[in-house]
């Protein structure tokens, strides 16, 4: 470590004399404080600590892309006309000149071809929407796989899940607005989904479309939802999400000096503010480059919506891909009974699967808490390998998602890879069920073997790559102990205990109320607890560690001795490390 005398002189030891602008700023601050009491409010917040890790940036991408969506969205509202009145297009894009279309489509073309920067803003808006949802999903994975959803952050997990749902709906309402052939096909499918709802389906459709499909109401109504209702909800939930983040303080990775009781990192002012603010400009800049250089959703190529036309390879935006895939591979199940129709082929993939997926996501923290019985607050993150069952559950969900998503492109896969679409579909019907199970088993065992590897390093040191031959011809690899920092970080985790249902008395020795139901629940809980923890590797006790290290030291001395006395005297010794 350097002495402070070596520090660059500009870092200064003398207090700077306030300049005139500083005095003016002080006056403004006083004025504001006398009215808003900012001094107290900001006392702790200005230097609030945020821990640093690349994975904490993923949620930030979602936040900043939402800001970009608001900015570019406001620009688009200045020019977009959400009307389904039929007009004849007479703008600059000659291939469509003279074609009848809705005002919505015509004004979208106008934004694209007659407003300078309009196409850029449209494409930035669409790119930002894609990034928004992708970033939310990856952020969700980060939070789940590191255990950041645990108490006290369960409510923020639920808010996050709702944000993902709202973001998806917001995306759908948004890309439906231009009233082009592709999005119109999506709206047509949405009409089919509504009509498949039991009892109220046709009424829902007729009320939403203002009469029979397609009517002339759907675009203005989607517009109201897209620019007012859903953004309002998103904004409110994002605010709540951020406030809770500030209140709980960010989670951190375990390491020397980082405990459950503290948070170590950089202060909000200036470092974190600069990094987060700078990152906003980077996300914004990347979005602008994408919007300027990469076309997406070229509605001018699709043309206006016509219920009798469709383009081959019609697909929704990517985040709608997985329910669309389920919709493709579902067998043709329809029940006709008592004069009514139950369309399982639509209800299962669209009306049941996505809400069920959302409920599973929301339930995950509570399910885990019930099984583990862990009611403590957690602020230190866990490595995915140290929660093998949790990680495996997410691997199963990701596999289900991925296979369903692939099913949403079964026609493209068939064409590009010269396969039979029928065979792809039959395969995926089985794979969406078996795949997640296989993924669960592989991931769980994989995590456990990684845990064993960590344990190995902890107890016997790391592999140096130096092979020593003993005088009697045997080979052994020289292991050296890992650093104290690494060893501490590896052991900075909880020991887990498998819950066992001991008769009718719980841990406190009180007879369980609720009789049989509680009994069964306990049995399930103990089975799940065993599944969750039984095979995990627990960190060694101090005695075990001491003994292992003693043993390793002994082995090392033997090897050193062999190196010193044996034929190969050039191997590294302790001094090299």
């Amino acid at each position: 470590m350097m002495k402070s005398a070596d520090v660059a002189t500009t870092n200064g030891t003398e207090p700077a004399t306030p300049t005139r602008s500083a005095k003016a700023a002080g006056a403004v601050a006083t004025w504001a404080d006398e009215r808003l009491g900012l001094g107290t409010a900001m006392k702790k917040q200005l230097r609030k600590v945020f821990p640093d890790h690349w994975s904490f940036m993923l949620g930030e991408i979602a936040l900043w892309s939402f800001v970009i969506l608001l900015l570019t969205g406001v620009f688009l509202t200045l020019f977009f006309d959400p009307s389904m009145t039929e007009v004849q297009y007479n703008g600059s894009y000659d291939p469509l000149r003279g074609v009848h279309m809705s005002r919505a489509m015509a004004s979208t073309l106008e934004i694209s071809f007659d407003v300078r920067g309009g196409l850029l803003m449209r494409q930035m808006h669409h790119w930002a929407a894609m990034i928004f949802i992708a970033a939310m999903m990856i952020h969700l994975l980060r939070v789940y796989l590191t255990g950041a959803f645990r108490k006290p952050r369960e409510l923020n997990w639920i808010i996050g899940c709702l944000l993902l749902l709202l973001g998806t709906i917001e995306g759908f309402t948004g890309y439906s607005l231009p009233d082009d052939l592709l999005s119109g096909t999506g709206v047509r499918a949405a009409d089919g989904f509504m009509k498949a709802s039991p009892v109220v389906g046709t009424y829902m459709s007729f009320f939403l479309f203002g009469g029979e499909f397609p009517g002339d109401q759907i675009i203005p109504r989607l517009y109201a939802a897209h620019i007012l209702l859903i953004p309002g909800l998103l904004l409110a939930l994002i605010t709540a999400h951020m406030l809770l983040l500030v209140y709980h303080k960010h989670t951190q990775w375990p390491g020397p000096g980082r405990t459950e009781e503290n948070v170590v990192g950089y202060p909000l002012l200036p470092v974190y503010m600069a990094k987060a603010g700078g990152f906003f400009f980077i996300v914004f800049g990347m979005t602008a480059l994408l919007g300027g250089l990469f076309t997406l959703n070229p509605v001018w190529k699709y043309g206006p919506y016509d219920p009798s036309k469709v383009t081959a390879g019609s697909q929704p935006d990517w985040y709608m891909g997985w329910p669309d895939g389920l919709l493709r591979i579902i067998p043709p199940w329809e029940t006709h009974i008592w004069g009514v129709t139950l369309s399982w082929n639509i209800m299962l993939p669209i009306l049941i699967a996505p809400p069920l997926m959302l409920m599973v996501l929301i339930a995950l923290p509570f399910l885990e808490q019930w099984i583990t019985g862990d009611k403590r607050e957690h602020h230190l993150l866990q490595r995915p390998r140290n929660a093998p069952t949790r990680t495996a559950v997410m691997a199963a969900l990701i596999t289900f998602y991925g296979l369903s998503w692939a099913a949403g492109g079964n026609d493209i896969i068939a064409i590009k890879m010269h396969l039979s679409i029928n065979q792809i579909t039959y395969f995926l019907r089985g794979a969406v069920i078996i795949g997640p199970i296989i993924a669960f088993m592989i991931t769980r065992r994989w995590c456990i073997s990684l845990q064993r590897h960590d344990q190995e390093k902890l107890l016997h040191g790391y592999e140096t790559g130096v092979i020593v031959r003993s005088p009697d011809g045997g080979y052994a690899e020289k292991h050296l102990p890992i650093s104290e920092t690494k060893a501490y970080t590896l052991t900075a985790r909880d020991r887990e205990e498998v819950y066992t249902a001991n008769g009718t008395a719980d841990e406190a020795g009180v007879a369980a109320p609720g009789g049989k139901v509680a009994e069964v629940a306990k049995k399930i809980r103990s089975k799940l607890s065993a599944l969750m923890f039984a095979d995990n590797v627990q960190k060694p006790t101090a005695e075990e560690l001491h003994e292992a290290q003693h043993h390793a030291d002994h082995e090392l001395h033997e090897l050193e001795h062999q190196i010193a006395t044996g034929p190969n005297k050039h191997g590294p010794t302790d001094d090299d490390h």
């Binding site: 397609p214 000096g257 329809e334 501490y488 006790t541």
Partner: protein
């Protein structure tokens, strides 16, 4: 190296915490010492970083100016296809704006990384729950408030209030009634049924009953009626009812087939016309005379979720929906041979009129398009018989 004995002693001392305190085999070595960055100790490096940051801000300013220049330089409109179909304006504006923003971002982060203080600081956490004392105060206040409101002692007020408030949900629901018309039997009929109907008109002051001509099948987009002799074997034609192009012939107003009405009619009446070897057709029960010399007509609207079906397999006469790949066999009453659709494609019974044009014998005998709750399957089978 860790002294394991000390650690185990520590554990023994803190063992009273039970499960709550993780037993650490290794004591926390504490935060590693801060290390100075090159820019902290070398004034030259510090100056260089300062210049780098300022230069990045400068580059951003240049890009912003170029953005404004590009805005006024590049015309759009007729030049929309320059540069990969994006137009020079969009590309230039996107590139300059993107770089202007990126340079600011990189500059600020460089500033933070190289020049701002990089001491990690420690803040203590507090449990999310409020202190016991605050909780007690709040609960007491709540209790006093409820007591003063006397809501518990006056169930009459409480219940009448809850009833009144609950009833207010009703206007919220009722107000939605005018969002749209009721479905009625609209989903069961298409505009094909307008052909061959009897209407009453007034001619020379007398009320007479006139039979509207049967609905001709017309080519999509251009609207010319189709002669049965026009089609070769293997031909596939996208078709619409002629009334959409010539409403007066069917005693309808232009307004009935324009704008939103046109879209509604097309979403149900669109047709696929296909001519095959008459011997290939396996007519369903009651459908023996629904084709004209091997020309069959099926609804173009998929029975799954309503996409228009457009992909034809010429040799097998299978029709594939591009949205979810439901496949229908047009030789066999539109039976589903693959995919998620639950019902066959509705078939339109065809015949020819006096001039040899293809006309519909009647409307579809079952609802077209996606399934819905009220759809009565029993009625379809009945309809097949008549």
């Amino acid at each position: 190296m860790t002294d394991a004995h000390d650690t185990s002693n520590d554990d023994a001392n803190s063992g009273g915490g039970g499960e709550l305190v993780p037993q650490e085999p290794i004591p926390d070595p504490g935060l590693p010492a801060h290390t100075w960055r090159p820019t902290d100790v070398d004034p030259k490096k510090e100056k260089r970083a300062e210049i780098q940051v300022a230069a990045l801000f400068g580059l951003s300013a240049i890009c912003t100016i170029l953005f404004v220049v590009a805005y006024f330089t590049y015309d759009i409109g007729d030049n929309w296809h320059v540069i990969g179909g994006l137009g020079a304006s969009t590309v230039a504006l996107g590139a300059t704006l993107g770089l202007a923003l990126l340079f600011i971002g990189v500059a600020v982060i460089q500033w933070a990384r190289k020049l701002m203080g990089d001491h990690e600081i420690i803040e203590l956490r507090h449990p999310a729950s409020s202190p016991e004392e605050d909780r007690a105060t709040t609960l007491a206040a709540l209790k006093v408030g409820i007591e003063e409101a006397s809501i518990a002692r006056r169930p009459l007020i409480r219940n009448s209030m809850l009833g009144a408030l609950g009833l207010l949900g009703l206007p919220a629901v009722v107000l939605l009634r005018d969002l749209g018309t009721l479905p009625g039997d609209k989903l069961e009929h298409t505009i094909w049924g307008q052909g061959g109907r009897k209407i009453k008109t007034v001619e020379n002051g007398k009320e007479v009953t006139v039979t509207v001509p049967k609905m001709r099948v017309a080519r999509d987009a251009i609207g010319t009626p189709i002669l049965a002799s026009d089609l070769e074997i293997g031909d596939l034609v996208n078709a619409q009812p002629e009334v959409l192009f010539n409403p007066t012939r069917y005693h309808m107003e232009h307004a009935d087939v324009e704008g939103v009405e046109l879209q509604i009619h097309k979403s149900k009446a669109s047709l696929i016309l296909l001519r095959m070897e008459p011997a290939d057709i396996k007519p369903g029960k009651g459908r023996e005379n629904w084709d004209v010399n091997g020309i069959v007509a099926y609804s173009k609207i998929c029975t799954h979720v309503g996409c228009p079906i457009s992909l034809n397999e010429r040799t097998t006469h299978h029709l594939l929906c591009p949205c979810h790949q439901s496949t229908f066999d047009l030789t066999d009453s539109g039976r589903v041979v693959f995919g998620p659709a639950g019902r066959p494609l509705p078939q339109l019974p065809l015949e020819v009129d006096e001039q040899g044009y293809l006309v519909a014998q009647s409307d579809f005998t079952e609802p077209v398009g996606p399934s819905y709750w009220e759809r009565d399957y029993e009625r379809d089978r009945f309809a097949e018989g008549d």
